[in-house]
């Protein structure tokens, strides 16, 4: 049997949709953990990145070099380390998810704002805008495509890490995968994996929609994929 037939059989089985550990609550839990972590990461990283990008200088160079470094950190290592120290508290998964969700957003926000044409910046100052107005009305909208790409990258990463976090006891779709592997049952493993893939594709679609709605038409083809 192939991966898809295993997964499809398991997902279409009615019994898996009822009860406390079934598909709907796990999907909600997964979306909840991921969404919360992403929100906190974005709330921290977007303002920080925008400010650092606007001021430029040494801090901006440090942030740009950061880009490759965070990919080296093994998420499983971070999760298990915190699990050993903090047990099953929310800190155990929230901290790594937020910490690893910040770099893509920070780097992209910084690069996006720093990359604004100096001529445009000058024009904004020339029309009498204060620094605050300059940032909010000119630089951020121009940097928006790149910022959204960063948030999207972070979202994908957070969803994937939340899946692995089932290993340290977190709920969500990873539960089906980890528990299935532990009990040598491939059906929930395949089903859980397919659901995670569908979730990831939904996240991509959501961001494509958000981009279309939020980015002004004049800037639409500017975001460089990171």
């Amino acid at each position: 049997m192939s991966f898809f037939s295993w997964a499809w059989d398991w997902i279409t089985q009615g019994a898996n949709w009822h009860g406390s550990g079934s598909i709907p609550p796990q999907v909600l839990a997964h979306v909840g953990y991921s969404g919360l972590s992403l929100l906190i990461a974005a709330l921290v990283a977007v303002p920080a990145g925008v400010v650092i990008g606007h001021r430029g200088g040494k801090a901006a160079i440090v942030v740009t070099n950061f880009a490759n470094a965070w990919r080296a950190i093994p998420t499983l290592g971070l999760l298990t380390l915190l699990a050993v120290y903090f047990g099953f508290s929310p800190l155990t998964w929230l901290l790594p998810l937020v910490a690893l969700g910040i770099p893509p957003i920070l780097v992209n926000a910084c690069e996006g704002v720093a990359g604004v044409d100096p001529g445009v910046r000058d024009a904004a100052r020339g029309t009498g805008m204060t620094t605050w107005q300059q940032i909010v009305q000119v630089e951020v909208p121009i940097a928006l495509p790149l910022i959204l790409v960063g948030v999207r990258t972070s979202a994908i990463f957070v969803v994937a890490t939340a899946t692995i976090a089932a290993e340290i006891g977190l709920g969500g779709l990873g539960r089906f995968i980890i528990d299935g592997l532990a009990s040598s049952q491939y059906a929930p493993v395949a089903g859980g994996a397919l659901l995670v893939v569908i979730l990831a594709i939904c996240v991509l679609a959501l961001f494509a929609l958000i981009s279309r709605l939020v980015i002004p038409p004049g800037l639409r083809d500017q975001g460089r994929p990171q």
Partner: protein, 210 residues
């Protein structure tokens, strides 16, 4: 932090590090080998690239554990499963860079080469690819670093790597093991990154001179 654990388990640590290195470097190399022809095609025939890029973006969004799991029926709980999955992820990072690198070669340069009598194949091998090397190697660096880090997730399907130290450390509530694993993964990634920077410098002597 129980330092004495390290010399006591030297051979295990070494073996796991070597496994992780293999699982990290091989996929990136395979990814490069696959990306080069695909990227050259995409750079030459423009209509090929947007659909390819869409597929690449979608595949890259798939969590690593899901891809490992999807390959189990065909390839079992073996190294091959992890290597194939990580090759696919590396491809997603390296291919766009191959295309960008090729496209970044100034038209004036390719025209000058043609004017000097270079046929398309010679021009590709001696002019376009060498000029694209910095961008390609930038992609290769990301590919290697993320493969080395993702290889540890393979431990969840029983494929041996430094991830073993994370899982074992968790089960025994023994943070020393986890610290060792973390440091080694990061050090491995940094070493490979630096090696690739050196390779780039060796392959592009004209950049050093300017």
């Amino acid at each position: 932090m129980m330092w004495s654990w390290i010399p006591g388990n030297w051979s295990l640590i070494w073996q796991l590090t070597w496994e992780n290195l293999k699982l990290g470097v091989l996929p990136a190399l395979y990814g490069l080998v696959i990306s080069l022809p695909l990227g050259i095609i995409a750079a030459r025939w423009r209509w090929f690239y947007p659909p390819t890029l869409t597929v690449v973006n979608i595949v890259y969004a798939i969590p690593s554990i899901a891809l490992f799991v999807a390959l189990i029926p065909k390839f079992g709980l073996t190294d091959t499963t992890v290597i194939i999955a990580l090759t696919v992820f590396s491809l997603c990072v390296i291919l766009p860079n191959v295309v960008e690198g090729m496209r970044g070669v100034p038209a004036a340069v390719t025209q000058a080469a043609t004017a000097m009598g270079y046929g398309p194949l010679r021009r590709l091998a001696l002019v376009e690819l060498p000029l694209a090397i910095p961008v390609i190697i930038a992609g290769l660096r990301v590919g290697v670093v993320s493969s080395i880090s993702l290889a540890s997730v393979g431990q969840l399907i029983g494929v041996s790597s430094l991830g073993y130290l994370f899982i074992d450390g968790l089960q025994r509530s023994f943070p020393t093991e986890i610290y060792v694993g973390l440091v080694l993964v990061i050090v491995l990634a940094i070493i490979c990154d630096l090696i690739l920077v050196a390779v780039r410098r060796a392959l592009t002597p004209w950049l050093a001179r300017s």
